[in-house]
């Protein structure tokens, strides 16, 4: 692997950039691997990297039916934060945030993680109660999250409208300063390059069509569009397609898939210094390094696999953005797109073992999986290497939907009386 640095860039520039090698080889499937990851998104590529890096399991293949990072990894609004309420969630997401910090250096690939701060707006008394609950829980969990008055919120994000006459006035905000954004594609590419350098095969255009099991029920390999591959450990990290893959192993998974849209504006000079989220009016926004305002919209009301959302969702999102940031009304929307989010009944992920020996799963991240990318990869790798979950992901087991030990963050922010 050619090390990336200003020096190597300079040296290669003198040679007209002819000397750069492939960032990862275009591998063809081998007959057998020690571990297979199904799904070449950031989570799956991360898992492959950590399997090789931390657990010495290098005979690993990542099977991607399309192109790596082409699913939700490349379709999200890149928000990173960990100010979750429940201990389980806070530990899970904070594990990821700690890995984000320094990931560029670890992978030798600039993932552009920018701790710009994530500010969540409170618009009514119920929001205040809910945010205070989060802030106090985060404080006692050692996760940073602080309360801002409307004036402090505006100082942190000057485009914010804090007029008390607004339809949904800003009554305060919860700010996590370590929160921020990263460049989504580079996370997939960085993990792929680093994993490939450790011997992992990145195999694109290779869809899994079956999961093979032996007489004892344990997995023995997969069928793919590029032939059979033998393997005793399979980690499925396929977001919206997880339920289809799990059915190949005879497992019904509690997942529903919805289209979720996002959009960007035309690029402008720097105006928006942080990430702002408002759950009450359904809007969130940041500005990319390129200058685009990056805006997240809501999910469609109906389940679907169509990566194409409805117009009224975009209309509502932009109305909400213009309410909170009226100076952007003349900005123009450049591009919209949709992704498919897989949602569990308690809207927390499933990350761990399955009832099938040798089959592991990482799914159900809903609208918030990007922020967990390094953490999810690391924990899936741990679970596959040790054949038992790490204490951080142990609560996020499949069994909780049977025994009732749900981790329901959204319910914790229940709608006002």
């Amino acid at each position: 692997m050619t090390r990336f640095s200003a020096m190597s860039l300079f040296a290669k520039a003198l040679g007209g950039h002819q000397g750069w090698p492939e960032q990862w080889p275009d591998a063809a499937p081998k007959p057998a691997y020690d571990a297979i990851i199904v799904g070449g998104g950031g989570h799956g590529l991360g898992a492959a990297y950590y399997l090789a890096k931390k657990y010495g399991i290098t005979k690993v293949a990542v099977l991607e039916k399309g192109w790596i990072g082409g699913g939700n990894t490349g379709r999200n609004t890149t928000i990173i934060r960990s100010n979750y309420l429940y201990d389980e969630s806070a530990h899970l997401y904070d594990h990821a945030v700690k890995l984000w910090d320094g990931l560029s250096q670890e992978l030798n690939y600039n993932t552009m993680y920018s701790k710009r701060g994530v500010m969540m707006l409170a618009h009514n008394v119920h929001d205040i109660q809910s945010f205070k609950r989060h802030i106090h829980a985060n404080r006692l969990n050692g996760v940073d999250n602080e309360w801002l008055t409307p004036e402090e919120a505006k100082a942190y994000c000057p485009p914010l409208n804090i007029s008390p006459d607004a339809r949904y006035p800003v009554l305060g905000a919860a700010l996590q300063r370590r929160g921020g954004t990263a460049r989504h594609d580079t996370v997939a590419w960085g993990y792929a390059r680093a994993a490939a350098a450790l011997g992992v095969d990145i195999i694109q255009n290779c869809a899994v069509t079956g999961i093979n099991r032996g007489p004892d029920g344990a997995v023995t390999g997969v069928e793919t569009t590029r032939g059979s591959i033998a393997c005793k450990r399979i980690g499925v990290s396929a977001a919206g397609n997880t339920s289809v893959l799990m059915q190949m192993a005879g497992l019904d998974f509690p997942l529903e898939s919805y289209p979720l849209q996002a959009l960007v504006s035309e690029p402008v000079k720097p105006i928006f210094p942080c990430v702002v989220m408002s759950n009450t009016v359904h809007a969130y926004m940041s500005q990319s390094d390129k200058g685009e305002l990056v805006i997240g919209a809501g999910t469609d009301q109906y389940v679907s696999y169509s990566q194409r959302g409805a117009l009224h969702i975009v209309e509502h999102t932009l109305a909400a953005i213009c309410e909170i940031f009226p100076i952007f009304r003349r900005m123009r929307m450049l591009r919209t797109w949709g992704g498919i989010v897989d949602v569990t009944p308690d809207r927390s992920p499933i990350l761990g073992k399955t009832p099938v020996q040798g089959l592991y799963v990482n799914c159900g991240w809903g609208t918030g999986g990007f922020k967990a990318t390094p953490g999810a990869g690391d924990l899936l790798a741990y679970t596959m290497a040790k054949d038992e979950p790490h204490r951080i992901n142990a609560p996020f087991n499949l069994d909780r939907f049977r025994n009732g030990r749900l981790i329901d963050e959204a319910a914790a922010a229940a709608v006002a009386h």
Partner: protein, 953 residues
């Protein structure tokens, strides 16, 4: 020729001269000009600076595909708009425009240092650098990158304009009003159906506008369409997106072309549902890729034709053509006939049709077949070009001041692709053409591949003897993506066209690749050694061109963003000085301060008066559902945890509603009015959710039940009258209802009249006092409220708000769903086991209540908390620990859900969810706050009148 304005021709109105300013200098143009044509007419070739290298740029195109000439326009306070295309800005008198992304000036831009250092900034350079030292990324590198990036400056003031929106339905929608679109519209107009014709330009005609021979036909057609009553024509309207089921979004621009901003909306969003969609969006000419192809003065041949024949402007005095397609020859012939000097025709092909050669010869134009342009001289404008034979020999210089490119055509299939229609590659056209539709849609004219522009060769990069690693041959002009970048991406292992796009940012600029995608694809195809057809296209994303946020937000602004729901009594509260709070979509009176009172004082007084005399409260926002039918009781029995079948008509019951997961989702007191009729109440925020949930079960799980549900939330105003004197206030006003304790006990309902108004009168209490809730038709709410206020004056009747209501209910330990419960709380957790019908065979959530974790010990219970210091009112949301001395992360065992100062008890009270709380009665727990840890004892949730003596009077 004055400047570059041709002596005659074009559709501009030479009688009306318009003055405008660009970067501070004053110019003149004509009515009918765009900013681009007017500046060209004044000899301006330099329009902007590119995104990454800050290279000087002129016009590439003449329409909405323009990638280079991005302009900011200001028209007074709050009306600054960046990133507009000069080719799409209609000129008006007084237009004030400026260039972007340059400092200190357009001609001398310090940012152009990036161009000199361009070899160090290839595609993806930022992935490889700025990692050391680590702390520099956020402090130094990223801010610097951000300052260099971006295009125009953002608006900084609130937009004074407003925006409109409408719905439209039609049988045939035609998008694009060139010859093919107009023909389709005329044909559709002859039927009886409703027809809508949309075009993004200021007048109909499309390509015909730059073909004077078609103007008489165009004139006749436009008049015929205008005379057709079933045809709606929308100009300056962009159909930007194609959504499910022939639903098209379009934005009409109403005022940006006017010198004076009128009072009407600036733009209007059209949401159109069409029976059939006909796409007639034409095609966009493809640039050629060669070193220096971005020099100002190098542009598309078709654009030069538009400027000459539509606007009467020559793009140069001595124009050369670089072609790989016949269409450029026709354009240059048309220019020659206007009297513009033609320097030469260069064509990469070794042979073209004899007819073209004959025409060139007749016009005296030198022709160089089998040649390519290999360089362009001139920094801020073309001075000369170098050409060479395709083998690399015969290098020669040609003087010229403009160079046209004719690289073939890319069909405009954006909307077709939004609709998920498939595309097929056609080698003969060198283009992707529409194949299988996914909706009721068809393409006509050029965007269907039906054109007569002649033949062409598909070329990725023009041959050159120069070192390709030194060449700057642009593919995506705005994002500064060169052929080298695309080859680098392939070299680094990016094989999918989506990867190449993302790695190089080719096609991701504000023109969304209209002029760059196909060239990028060709270059990738060569580098990958795979045919274009095997590589595929990147996905087309709405919108077709950028659309204003304000237009998409439409009317949903300020008070119209979401309606504020107000009760019939709200106006009285406002007149009487209430302070309001927002609850769901409602606004509710929070308290009624008297002069000099803060919230604390007002709430204490309101609470005191309810407990000592009588208070009046607007409870109209409570959700209400009328449940009617022979199976009404059976239905409620299955929905709620409580038993309903034995409830007698005339009685009320507290109902508890769970979700399938066994957790509380709503509650409310409901009444049985008759054997087959119930009056349900829900929480204010839960009204719609509960109705949806009930309808869902009724329609999908139990369609056999004979029950009808009707939301009646807004049909009733509800006045709660609470306090020991409540009955005395009510008695003189009510007719036909015996209010005595014996005849009308707690949790009963009666129908009768009050002040002559029909009423459903509930005897219920959310305060622990003797109480009534009076339901009357909404329109009578305020009148009745005032009548009761007058009647209650002798008891000093006191209006109270939601804050006092919260305190009073908390004193009694009544929960608020959504505050004391949060979607993880079972009835047992909340101490509401009594509300579960133990003998019922089933109800929603019953099975979940038996799950192992739900019956396991150690769940959080809702309990009371009394602080050691009675004056400390805990913060709602504060976390609770058993051991205050443990290090962070601490083990939290619960949190405070409700916390108030209780005037009745003269101390603070709180409710909390605490692990195993029901078994911790009397235990001291700790609430660590910043700087101070509070101590509190676990107690019963009922702090006041535990035996309920005050209720049963």
């Amino acid at each position: 020729m004055t400047g570059y304005r041709l002596p005659m021709g074009g559709r501009v109105n030479r009688q009306t001269q318009l003055a405008f300013r660009f970067d501070g200098a004053t110019y003149a143009g004509f009515e009918g000009d765009t900013l681009a044509s007017a500046l060209l007419a004044n000899g301006v070739q330099l329009f902007g600076r590119s995104f990454k290298y800050h290279r000087p740029r002129g016009l590439l195109g003449a329409g909405s595909e323009e990638p280079n000439a991005l302009i900011s326009v200001t028209r007074g306070p709050g009306r600054f708009t960046p990133n507009l295309r000069a080719t799409s800005i209609d000129l008006y008198d007084g237009l004030e425009a400026s260039s972007q992304n340059r400092w200190p000036s357009l001609k001398f831009d310090l940012g152009a240092i990036n161009d000199r250092l361009g070899m160090f900034f290839p595609a993806g350079f930022y992935n490889k650098t700025f990692m050391w030292p680590r702390s520099f990324w956020e402090k130094l590198y990223e801010p610097a990158i951000r300052r260099m990036a971006g295009l125009g400056h953002p608006p900084t003031e609130e937009d004074p304009d407003h925006y409109a929106a409408t719905y439209a339905h039609c049988d045939v929608l035609i998008i694009g009003a060139g010859p093919a679109g107009i023909d389709a519209a005329l044909e559709a107009a002859s039927g009886n159906g409703r027809v809508i014709l949309i075009d993004e330009q200021d007048e109909l005609g499309g390509g015909a506008l730059s073909d004077p021979a078609l103007w008489p036909w165009l004139d006749r057609s436009v008049k015929a369409l205008a005379a057709s009553p079933n045809v709606t024509v929308l100009t300056r309207t962009t159909a930007f997106g194609y959504f499910h089921d022939n639903f098209i979004g379009a934005v009409e621009r109403l005022t940006d072309h006017l010198a004076d901003v009128p009072h009407g909306p600036r733009e209007k969003l059209w949401r159109i549902r069409a029976g059939e969609v006909i796409l007639a969006q034409g095609a966009i000419e493809r640039p050629l890729v060669f070193d220096g192809n971005d020099t100002p003065g190098v542009m598309l041949a078709s654009a030069a034709r538009v400027f000459a024949l539509r606007f009467g402007v020559a793009v140069g005095r001595s124009i050369a053509l670089m072609a790989s397609h016949d269409s450029g020859w026709h354009d240059i012939f048309a220019l020659a006939k206007t009297g513009v000097g033609i320097a030469a025709i260069v064509d990469v092909r070794d042979a073209v049709s004899p007819d073209l050669l004959a025409q060139a010869e007749a016009l005296g134009i030198p022709v160089h077949l089998g040649h390519s342009v290999i360089g362009v001289r001139g920094r801020l404008g073309v001075k000369a070009i170098s050409i060479a034979r395709n083998g690399g020999t015969g290098v020669a210089d040609l003087a010229c001041d403009a160079l046209l490119m004719a690289g073939g055509w890319t069909l405009t299939v954006h909307l077709w692709s939004h609709s998920k229609g498939t595309l097929a590659w056609r080698d003969d056209l060198g283009a992707y053409v529409p194949d299988q539709p996914n909706e009721n849609v068809r393409c006509v004219g050029a965007c269907a591949g039906a054109w007569s522009f002649g033949d062409g060769a598909v070329i990725d990069i023009l041959p050159t003897p120069k070192d390709p690693t030194r060449a700057k041959a642009f593919v995506d002009f705005q994002n500064d993506v060169t052929a080298k970048d695309i080859k680098l991406a392939v070299r680094e292992g990016f094989r999918s066209i989506e990867h190449i796009k993302r790695y190089t940012t080719n096609g991701m600029a504000t023109d969304q690749g209209k002029t760059s995608n196909l060239n990028g694809l060709q270059i990738a195809s060569t580098a990958l050694n795979r045919p274009v057809a095997d590589i595929g296209l990147t996905t087309f994303r709405p919108p077709y061109t950028p659309q204003t946020f304000g237009a998409l937000a439409g009317h949903a602004k300020g008070p119209l963003f979401q309606p504020t729901r107000k009760t019939n009594i709200d106006s009285w509260a406002e007149e009487n000085g209430a302070v309001f709070e927002l609850v769901a979509q409602w606004r509710r009176a929070r308290y009624f301060p008297k002069a000099g009172e803060d919230m604390h004082a007002a709430v204490n007084r309101e609470c005191r008066m309810v407990r000592s005399s009588v208070g009046i409260f607007d409870a109209s926002t409570l959700g209400k559902i009328e449940v009617v039918g022979p199976d009404a009781a059976e239905f409620l029995n299955r929905m709620y945890t409580n038993p309903w079948k034995a409830l007698e008509p005339g009685r009320c019951r507290y109902g508890l509603l769970l979700k399938e997961d066994g957790f509380i989702t709503d509650d409310g007191v409901s009444a049985r009015l008759a054997a087959d009729r119930f009056h349900l109440t829900t929480t204010t925020g839960g009204a719609a959710r509960v109705l949806n949930m009930m309808e869902d079960y009724l329609q999908t799980e139990w369609p056999d039940l004979n029950v009808w549900l009707t939301s009646t939330t807004e049909q009733y105003a509800v006045i709660a009258l609470q306090g020991p004197n409540a009955r005395k206030v009510l008695e003189p006003l009510v007719e036909g209802i015996d209010l005595s304790a014996e005849a009308f006990p707690h949790m009963a309902v009666r129908e009768g009249t009050i002040c002559g108004i029909p009423t459903r009168l509930f005897r219920v209490s959310f305060t622990g006092e003797l109480g009534f809730e009076i339901n009357v038709p909404s329109a009578y709410g305020r009148a009745l409220w005032e009548r009761i206020m007058a009647e209650g004056a002798r008891f000093d009747i006191t209006p109270y708000g939601t804050e006092a209501m919260h305190v009073l209910r908390a004193e009694k330990g009544f929960i608020i769903v959504g505050q004391d419960t949060d979607g993880t709380v079972t009835p047992q957790d909340a101490g509401l086991d009594w509300a579960i019908g133990k003998k019922k065979p089933d109800f929603v959530g019953k099975r979940s209540l038996a799950r192992p974790d739900i019956v396991a010990p150690g769940r959080k219970h809702l309990v009371g908390l009394l602080t050691e210091d009675p004056n400390v009112v805990l913060e709602e949301g504060a976390q609770i620990v058993a051991d205050p001395n443990q290090p962070v992360p601490m083990t939290m065992i619960g949190h405070v859900t409700s916390s108030y100062w209780s005037e009745a008890l003269g101390r603070s009270i709180a409710m909390a969810l605490v692990v195993d709380g029901q078994n911790r009665m009397g235990q001291s727990l700790f609430i660590p706050m910043p700087g101070q840890t509070h101590v509190a004892k676990v107690s019963s949730m009922v702090f006041y009148d535990a035996e309920g003596a005050r209720l049963n009077v």
